[in-house]
């Protein structure tokens, strides 16, 4: 498998998937960064926007913060207590929760949006930089896991690892 550095995504889905697959085959998992939850506003789901040092050479700070802030907004929307959620709650109670056999809860709808958003972000911004963002729901909403991949067999690659452990065979 040729080690081809994935180029920036050009909007073509096939190319992007191809890039992601190549990323897997041509790169090895070097490190994982975990963005922890931010509980300063209570138990609602929020993630810390602090930029981790391992990603400093990998991705622009602004991109990262935008991703996390958008995710936080999505979660806030899902957990918002307001007119619509009350309506849904009362309707569900009245129908003895059987209504959820036919329709999704608002939370689930937002989670689907989040999954789509994360996939888009991965394809457009993270995979070309050798990173992969894992949906927090797959980690029990505890962390946003960002996997850092290193190119295999790349000597003195431009992506030069700043992480403590990651280093491929030289």
């Amino acid at each position: 498998m040729q080690a081809r550095v994935p180029t920036a995504a050009d909007g073509n889905m096939a190319t992007e998937f191809h890039n992601l697959q190549e990323l897997r085959h041509s790169a090895s998992l070097a490190n994982k960064v975990f963005i922890q939850r931010d509980y300063s506003e209570g138990t609602t789901c929020r993630f810390q926007t602090k930029f981790p040092s391992e990603l400093e050479s990998r991705i622009e700070r602004k991109l990262f913060e935008d991703t996390v802030k958008t995710l936080n907004n999505y979660y806030a929307e899902a957990e918002k207590i307001g007119g619509q959620s009350y309506l849904e709650g009362c309707l569900a109670c009245v129908t003895a929760y059987l209504i959820f056999l036919c329709m999704e809860t608002r939370y689930e709808k937002v989670l689907k949006k989040i999954a789509k958003y994360i996939q888009e972000q991965n394809e457009k911004f993270y995979a070309p930089r050798g990173l992969l963002v894992t949906d927090p729901i797959e980690r029990g909403m505890r962390v946003i896991e960002i996997s850092i991949y290193e190119d295999r067999g790349s000597s003195g690659s431009s992506s030069g690892s700043s992480s403590v452990s990651g280093s491929t065979a030289r």
Binding site: E108, I137, E138, S165
Partner: protein
Amino acid sequence: MHLGVSESMRECEYSQISTRSSTPMETPYKHRTPKRRKWESFPGRNKFCCNGRIMMAKQTGVFYLTLVLILVTCGLFFTFDCPFLALKLTPVIPVIGGVLFLFVLGTLLRTSFTDPGVLPRATPDEAADLERQIDVVNGGTGYRPPPRTKEVVINGQTIKLKYCFTCKIFRPPRASHCSLCDNCVERFDHHCPWVGNCVGRRNYRFFYMFILSLSFLTIFIFSFVITHIILRSHQSGFLNALKDSPASVLEVVVCFFSVWSIVGLSGFHTYLISSNQTTNEDIKGSWSSKRGKDNYNPYSHGNIFTNCCAALCGPLPPSLIDRRGFIQSDAPQLAPPTNGTTMYGATQSQLSHMCDQDQCIQSTKFVLQAATTPLLQQQGSEPVVLTASPENGCSVPGRTSLGQPTPPTSTPSLSCHEATEMLPIHGQCHTHNHSHPLQEPMAHHHFLTPEEMPSPPGMLPCGSPLGHSHTIQAGFYNPASQDSLHEDSVRGLVKLSSV
């Protein structure tokens, strides 16, 4: 259910990057093992039914008792009392009774079968990352076990987040570890044996509606059975009335004893909901003004109405444990798992496959060296076969400073039996709650703070080993390779698994 579908869809899309591997050695291995669902290797002490759709606690005897009591009492009521009452008074009575009965049953089953909000345990990578962070904070000295708490300020109140040794996570605020189910549960209220499940964030509203509707049902049946007996006595005398419908006597007795406890419990939970507290917090007195002038509940929304609406009609979060998803056998990992079975099903063969590839050995070695550097600094740690001591956690040896996964072993069966015996029904909340905060002081043996001291001294369930010890195998690698590089990685892996 919907989430399960979307999860698998997501897994399919990501399989292009994560799981598909071209090495021939792995493919025959994958074909041999049947696909297992995640609930089959769930690390907590839970019972699953209907292929993972239903989730309950392990001991469900009392739940069946609850079901039998409700079904028998209502059955007797509909069979013996309703015909008379429908004729004499109005047929609306059995209708209302029927609706109440169905509602009670529905909410009971919903409370019992729903995931209360279990937090899945940390993946090995997360756990290792947390350990590293904690070590960094403490300067990696390792002579004393690091304080496993984090402080966070919520709405002006300082709250301590505790580290759970079993789940290897810092518990979110209001979460607690249930020693009976061996899970961390979000917004943990209490473990209810009558319902056969924990009561937490996801099923609290069902639990509340269950006890509320059960109160109404009990009062309803009680009053109408008494009415029935009175009406009959006017016809044929009191003793004859009792002889004509003996079932009524049984119903009256059951209802009389239930009414006090269930109505009392409903009232208590109404108070809790209106002040947005959990049973756990109320019992510990976390937000009572007795603790301090500035002590207030940071989670309360300010007024009773909003608190009630938020608890009962707020959004219902989905289950975080993907029970019906399939285990991905070769998810990429940084460091090997420390347990024999993890939720992700990584096995020895998979790891030896990883080790076989030369490139992986290099990177693995680097990762391990980085990860094990703090471990190597502590000289006294014995890595091989770590069996969690079957005695209770009071006698935690100071062996490894990074703390071993002290499972909450000795509390479960004892407290459950205690509780079911001593149950004044109202008290079940209290007894079970005491069993679980006790587990925390044991796990945090070396750094008890005043507030963690158990409040009911009489409840210390010391002694009595449980037949439920976790054996964590450290030596599942065959260090049979002559390659020194391989030996190094193996040594590193063995040391890592002593955590």
